[in-house]
Amino acid sequence: MNVLEMKDIHKSFGPLEVLKGIDLEVKKGEVVGIIGPSGGGKSTLLRCATTLEHIDKGEIKIAGETLVSTSRSGLTQYTDKKKVQEIRSKFGLVFQNFNLFPHFSVRRNITESLIHVHKKSKEEANAVCDQLLKKLDMLEKADAYPCNLSGGQQQRVSIARALALNPDILFFDEPTSALDPELTAGVLKVIRELAEEKMTMVIVTHEMAFARDVADKLVFMDGGVIVEQGSDIISNPKQERTKEFLAGYG
């Protein structure tokens, strides 16, 4: 079963066409790694999948629900607000710069949506929070504020915040790019563990070794199109553009 289906996605910012017909399918339990040069449209693709940007044309289905589609006559239409809100509860997004809520403690960052959006009791929410923090080795930081955590710890909290809502699919946009090199390992380890638990994930990353290890499928994006995809395009690229890009990573 496909948790994410994106068909012929087009997206422009003014005159600049950033996505030029992207097709992407992600099966349940699959980990998809997206790589490619800067400006290739990777973030834009994730932002379209997560409703932060509206597409101009194409179709997006998440967990079987149609978020947006383009009719035969060329009219692109999003589903109604209520349905969009419902679809939003089916995915999570981990940002490059975390975007934690600075005025909330770690615990409240994780439980706020559970309590006030998903109407869970405080006890239930706290139980979910404790379990996640324990798993991410952050339990002793439950009452800390984001500004007192290292970047790596903040990113782990933001992963916990996304996981708390029990999403069907989790998107990551360069989860380690804002971190000091010595802090990336902890975050990558968490993502690896999630992959072992068969969490469905789409990960944009510049960490080639990590991408090769963790991803079931790799997608190389450049100039708004998918140039090449497959399970071993990093060790065995077929396209010239992919080879050229990978050469830059030694």
Partner: protein, 223 residues
């Protein structure tokens, strides 16, 4: 000595009005300022335009003039008897003072709030949206608490100015502290009442600074 005691007691009776103007203005102008800020940032160009003109008039003309207009406007423009405009035990001159101050301070607060809201990183809105928060929840739970921290120093400045501005109510002959001081000074032929009133204002602002410092400190748990 007896004169001083009577001066102080009369000033103290004026202080009731001064405090009344002060607290009622804050009570009305802060929420109104939030709404005005919202209007100023509206995507609707007409709404944003009207609000913009409102703010520029409020900030670009003397508060004293605005008070006079609010007070005499109903009579000269609509021929309403001012006595008919009393609200319960409050004379219209006091009501007009509160309306004038609230409209004026709302404009200043609105600009402060707008600056604070616009300084918030877009990532906060995006994270909230992904987590399913409604627009209202996002504003009141995520954005506003952080905006309050950011604008607190500017708000403190306005509040301190307001304490001093209450003396402008004298143009509508509201019996606030400055009006009393002026009357006492001329009847006693002495500057003592002015000095005593000055001390009152100064102490009031001292208290405000202590309180606001406290509030700012209480928000220092995050950055």
């Amino acid at each position: 000595m007896a004169e001083l005691a009577s001066t102080l007691s009369q000033l103290a009776s004026g202080l009731r009005f001064t405090l009344g103007i002060f607290f009622l203005t804050l009570l009305f102008s802060i929420p109104l300022g939030l709404i005005v800020a919202r209007g100023r940032m509206s995507k609707n160009k007409i709404v944003a335009g009207i609000v913009r003109i409102y703010i520029s008039i409020m900030r670009g003309t003397p508060l004293m003039l605005q008070l006079l207009l609010v007070y005499f406007g109903p009579y000269y423009i609509f021929s309403v008897k001012l006595a008919d405009l009393d609200v319960g035990p409050f004379k219209y001159r006091f009501v007009a003072t509160i309306i004038g101050f609230s409209l004026n301070y709302a404009a200043y607060f609105a600009e402060i709030f707008r600056g604070g809201i616009q300084s918030m990183p877009v990532g906060q809105y995006e994270a909230a949206q992904i987590l399913g928060f409604s627009k209202m929840q996002t504003f009141f739970r995520i954005i506003l608490p952080q905006v309050i921290k950011r604008v607190l120093p500017s708000v403190t400045n306005e509040v301190i100015t307001l304490v001093k501005d209450t003396s402008l109510a004298q143009v509508l002959a509201v019996a606030e502290m400055f009006t009393m001081a002026k009357n006492l000074a001329s009847s006693q032929v002495s500057v003592m009442p002015f000095i005593a009133a000055g001390v009152f204002y100064y102490v009031m602002n001292g208290v405000i600074e202590i309180i606001m410092n406290h509030v700012e400190k209480s928000m220092r748990y995050y950055s």
